[in-house]
């Protein structure tokens, strides 16, 4: 017997300790049942909708990997044309691959056109659905199955693509970063994003137990560490101005975060590992300085 009242139902096939399941739950909790959700191909889609089942208690549609924002555009236009838009929120929930890589053209177009919807990127920093391949969200020096460490490589050679800034450049009235490790912060921002008219963007940091290599009980703990090391700054940007920054009380060294994950394990054994960790610390310090964390 199902006793929960959550809009994201149990019985889904997410891993034990799944970050995407948490993200979906928080978003629906924040927005309520008067919404339509669009999800691209990815972990969240696959584990939540194995035919003939669905974990979604709101209307939900999956079309393809790279067209989420365009599908959302069509839904918004249809609701307007049919006089059904009213207070119904349209929320697209895409992974980092679907958002930052393959879906960026459609996302850019939808934001430039100014559709009234919220796009939430649940960023677990690689293609987890297909077995942990690199995406544009994969951080500097992380290993994935397509950016493995080896004699000639320390993993992913490039830093994460700064997606929130790209969305900001589209003139979005609301761009926010948050983490599944801060449910209240995340729910507040998602709700706010859906309440603001126009295309709004929330980028959610989401540690993946399987892809990053840590115990499933630590999903939230890892997310917290990313924020506390300043590797993932949480903020709100309204009409182009930073209006809120999550301040770090006890700033932690990046080693603590890196050590806890298999994807960075090599940094503690390869010859130039210390140098790379130093660079990662510099990235964190830059964030802390830039955003006054």
């Amino acid at each position: 017997m199902n006793k929960t009242t959550e809009l994201f139902a149990p019985g889904h096939r997410g891993c034990a300790g799944c970050c995407d399941a948490l993200a979906a739950k928080f978003m629906l909790k924040a927005v309520g049942e008067n919404c339509i959700v669009v999800t691209p191909t990815g972990c969240l889609e696959v584990f939540s909708t194995p035919f003939p089942e669905s974990a979604w208690n709101v209307p939900w549609i999956h079309s393809l990997f790279e067209n989420t924002a365009a599908v959302a555009s069509g839904i918004e236009a249809a609701l307007k044309a049919l006089g059904r838009k009213n207070d119904t929120k349209i929320m697209a929930i895409g992974g980092d691959g679907a958002t930052i890589d393959i879906g960026i053209r459609g996302l850019s177009g939808a934001f430039e056109r100014g559709h009234d919807f919220t796009y939430v990127c649940v960023d677990n920093e690689a293609y987890m659905n297909t077995g942990v391949q690199r995406s544009g969200g994969t951080p500097f020096a992380a290993t994935t199955t397509t950016t493995p460490a080896g004699k000639a490589s320390f993993g992913n050679l490039r830093p994460k693509k700064n997606m929130p800034q790209i969305m900001l450049a589209h003139g979005s009235p609301y761009v926010a970063t948050t983490s599944i490790a801060y449910p209240k912060d995340m729910m507040r921002k998602v709700k706010k994003a859906t309440e603001i008219t126009g295309p709004t963007y929330v980028h959610v940091h989401a540690p993946c137990t399987t892809g990053w290599g840590f115990d499933g009980s630590k999903t939230i703990e890892l997310g917290r560490l990313a924020v506390q090391t300043a590797l993932w700054p949480m903020m709100e940007i309204e009409n182009g101005d930073i209006t809120g920054v999550h301040k770090i009380r006890n700033k932690r060294p990046v080693e603590e975060y890196l050590k806890a994950q298999k994807r960075f394990k090599h940094l503690f054994s390869i010859p130039d590992g210390a140098e790379i960790i130093k660079k990662i610390q510099e990235l964190a310090d830059w964030n802390a300085d830039q955003y006054d964390l």
Binding site: T49, L64, A70, G74, I75, A77
Partner: protein
């Protein structure tokens, strides 16, 4: 002739789309489809399509994706594209038919690159043959316009629920000015009921669209699409009749014939070349030649039974293709006609010709030459099953 007015083919089609009362039109301009979407955006800007939302998407990929979202939300949708744009939609075309969304799209047929060509042939839509879309081909601007409400009525049928392409030849028909009856709003309202799908994206009755299927159920969904196509076979015929009753115009259902009944040589074609062939056949019949035309109006669903019945008394069948399957050296009509006759008692030679690729003009003389080749083949048998009828050997 009082109802006729001289307009461009694109205008006639855009106007036809307008009177079908679409709710959402996402479109991306591409030659030679541009005039259609320009006219529609003007209609929308004038407030002539009700509350219709015209979305200027950033690519054909997003156009068709927005169509999916809009249709799932309960909207009647329309778009138009061609060639490279249609190819860019390829992945989404499967998605639309698999989700059983009755999208309607006009395809202004154009050749595929490379080499880059903006001119007409049928390679673009033929290449999308297996995406699960209904494909009808029009022979002139009037039929292209009239086809628009017809395809809505066909694909929105609850037993069908498949997307449809209304194909008409780029430039040759999109850019021609000629007298056309612009579809009347009142007649169209009488002919075409409002779109009322059983399931829509609606928070008051939440449904999940686009779940994933494991191997235990995938084939069944494909088969159900096939059942939808089968239902369309009959529906295309009845809708053509219903259209005739209300508007008084008829172009055939799945197929149509011209001098077909007693024809020894049966030419098979689709699209704008039909008109030229008809003129040629008038001449040849006057000379006593028993030549007829089988017009393929529906390429998907493919009207196998209707074709068998139509050609069974011929001495030779001559499919004329504006497409080529490279590596088979024949066009789609040729392949499919032959396949339709195999495993039957119909044993008639099939002599295929390809022509008009990349916009190469098809003058009446070309048709006459093909007919004379067919006459020889009746006597001497077929030596080459399929070939280009208009290849410039001197360039090779």
């Amino acid at each position: 002739m009082s109802k006729l007015t001289v307009v461009e083919g694109s205008y006639a089609v855009a106007h036809a789309a307008k009177v079908c009362r679409p709710d959402v039109i996402p479109a991306y301009p591409i030659t030679p489809q541009t005039h259609i979407v320009e006219e529609l955006s003007q209609f929308a800007a004038n407030g002539e399509i009700g509350a219709c939302e015209y979305i200027t998407v950033e690519s054909e990929f997003s156009a068709i994706s927005a169509l999916i979202g809009a249709s799932a939300a309960g909207a009647r949708t329309y778009s138009a594209t061609t060639s490279q744009g249609l190819a860019l939609m390829h992945e989404v075309l499967f998605n639309a038919s698999g989700m059983r969304l009755p999208l309607v799209m006009t395809v202004a047929n154009r050749a595929m690159s490379a080499p880059l060509s903006i001119w007409n042939d049928h390679q673009d839509s033929i290449a999308q043959r297996d995406t699960g879309w209904i494909q009808l081909y029009a022979e002139d601007p009037q039929e292209a316009a009239d086809m628009t409400p017809q395809v809505y009525k066909i694909c929105e049928d609850s037993k069908i629920m498949l997307p449809a392409m209304a194909c008409f030849d780029g430039f040759i028909l999109t850019h021609v000015y000629e007298p056309v009856v612009l579809l009347e709003q009142d007649l169209t309202d009488e002919f075409l009921p409002p779109f009322a799908p059983e399931h829509i994206l609606d928070p008051s009755n939440p449904k999940t669209f686009g779940a994933f299927a494991d191997p235990s159920i995938y084939s069944e969904f494909r088969y159900m699409q096939e059942l939808g196509m089968s239902a369309a076979l009959k529906k295309i015929e009845t809708v053509a009749d219903e259209f005739n009753e209300i508007y008084g115009r008829y172009y055939g259902g799945l197929i149509d014939g011209y001098y077909l009944d007693d024809a020894e040589i049966v030419l098979v074609a689709m699209g704008s070349v039909i008109g030229t062939i008809k003129d040629v056949l008038d001449e040849l019949r006057a000379e006593g030649k028993k030549v007829g035309l089988l017009k393929i109006r529906s390429f998907r669903p493919f009207p196998t039974d209707a074709i068998r019945n139509a050609v069974k008394n011929a001495a030779i069948i001559v499919p004329l293709d504006k497409s080529i399957s490279i590596g088979k050296y024949e066009g789609a009509l040729c392949t499919e006609i032959k396949a339709s006759l195999y495993n039957t008692k119909i044993d008639i030679p099939v002599l295929g010709y390809m022509f008009g690729h990349g916009g190469r003009d098809i003058p009446p003389e070309r048709i006459k030459k093909i007919v004379s080749e067919a006459e020889k083949a009746i006597v001497n048998g077929i030596t080459i099953e399929s070939s280009y009828a208009d290849l410039r050997e001197e360039l090779l």
